[in-house]
Amino acid sequence: MKVHWDLHALAPLVAVTVTIVVVLIADFFFEYRERFKTYQLAAFGTLAALIPIITLARDGGTRSLFGGAFVVDTYTLAFQGFFLIVAYVTLLISVDHIGEGDYYQGEFYVLVLTSTLGMMIMAGARDLITIFVALEMISIPTFVLAGWRKHDTRSNEAAVKYFIIGVLSSAVMLYGISMVYGLSGSTSLSGIAEYAGSAGTPALLSIAIFLTIVGFAFKISAVPFHFWAPDTYDGAPIPVTAFLSVASKAGGFVALLNVIFFGFYASHTSWQPIIWVLAALSMTVGNLVAIRQTSIVRMLAYSSIAQGGFMLVPFAVAGVGSSKHASFEAVIVYILIYGAMNLGMFACVIAAMRRTQSDEISSFGGMSKYSPILAVMTSAFLFSLAGIPPLAGWFAKFVMFRSVLDAGTTPAVILGVIAALNSVIAFFYYAGVARAIWFRETPEGIDLRPLKTPFALNAAIAITGSFVLIVGIYPQVIARLGELAGAAL
């Protein structure tokens, strides 16, 4: 058996790998004062990896590698591009934060890129072994990133909690996967789909699917497996929190998309009720706890749990009727939009915290006085997260509700009502922050001179902000992308 190498299909992964190696080696030779050059190398490599993605997309077609364990199609390419852009924006928002603190710069970028590489592999993974390796490749660097401030006990605690839960969830997921393998006799998702289609749902398969989904639920911090998320998000450095809440979560969702839509789909009577419960609980608990938070980071942590619940809704209604494609597309569109608006939100928080030095929502009072532009952008991201037109968030909610209506069954409609109620609740706490920014007094001791933010941070806010605005006004753009990616199903 000769190994067939399709280097073009692997080019985005190779580009990122080369960047990782080059950044790590270059870091040895730079003097302390030139360490920012590692950032330039990392950013350049990330953007360079987008080129083969564009050429592959122009070529079109499906490329299957390594006996079907890794597939490059429109779905894979859409997410690989998304993860690269998320990594680039993460580099933009972290360069000044990491550069100004006494942190190890080169290693930080290496770990962010390694995690990104894992996500890119996940996008193409169609085999349980590949999915497991990709998932661990996403997680292990982020364990280290969460504990980045070595001497800060809060950062230690964030890393310990994240690590223990992360590894525990991998073990539970693996146990489920081992039973899936034992039943179906195959680790490839197509083989599992064949088995699920022919066997119906024996009890053991239901248990195996349950354990696998519980493992993923930890990774995407769905309630009741969410308790690590607020503490980890709070204790980790904020750029890392942004990366965790967007990229790492999206990686988990891509894994869930792969496993459910390419593998377990036919046994929907097994996985649908579990995801229904996870979705309903995540939305409700996430939102209700978010209201009570006084720290913006913890509020965003619970808000991201709730947003994860919204993303689970299309899964929960996917198994019936003609809603398979609509749900698949809805999840893709929601992830892409959520990524942009949440990253933008964190970029704004990081920019504002350069002045306030505190993550209390009250300390953000009167932001419009010293930085009107930042106040406008922060409000834009807040309202986008709340789903107010004409910002991108409304379209994400719209496709989510459309998938519910496509399914049209009673459980689907009940879940739709829960989602609608939660959208209203969510509006209150997002609007509360916006009100503080515009109408509250500036707290004592905050400098009222205009706030100067570094160029990289401005660029990050500009990229995510323009995406949120353009997609909000012309949602056809992202709808078309979702259709193209969904065609791979």
Binding site: I129, N156, A159, V160, A171, V172, P230
Partner: protein
């Protein structure tokens, strides 16, 4: 060929592992419990692989073993940091952030 005995042994090991993670407060012992869970998975995979006469289960085990080693490496480093800052490997020391 016998299969059930292996599966039962793996299930028992897995449960002991979960018990250890939930009950033990020493970070190193928690790591060892997680290793136990992963080894239960390995046992499952090998048993199925032999039963089905299919090698992909054994390949899976190789990946689980290597990735478990990487995980434990990172985990020990994190627990070592905790130990340096708190002078104790007790995970309950880390209780500043409340859910």
């Amino acid at each position: 060929m016998i299969l059930n005995q292996f599966l039962i042994l793996a299930a028992v090991l897995f449960c002991i592992g979960i018990y250890g993670v939930l009950v033990r407060r020493n970070g190193v012992l928690v790591l060892m419990s997680i290793e136990l869970m992963l080894n239960a998975v390995n046992l499952n995979l090998i048993a199925f692989s032999a039963y089905l006469k299919d090698t992909s289960g054994q390949i899976f085990v190789l990946f689980v073993i290597t990735i478990a080693a990487a995980e434990v490496g990172v985990g020990l480093a994190i627990i070592l940091l905790l130990f340096r800052n708190f002078r104790s490997p007790d995970l309950d020391q880390a209780q500043q952030l409340k859910g």
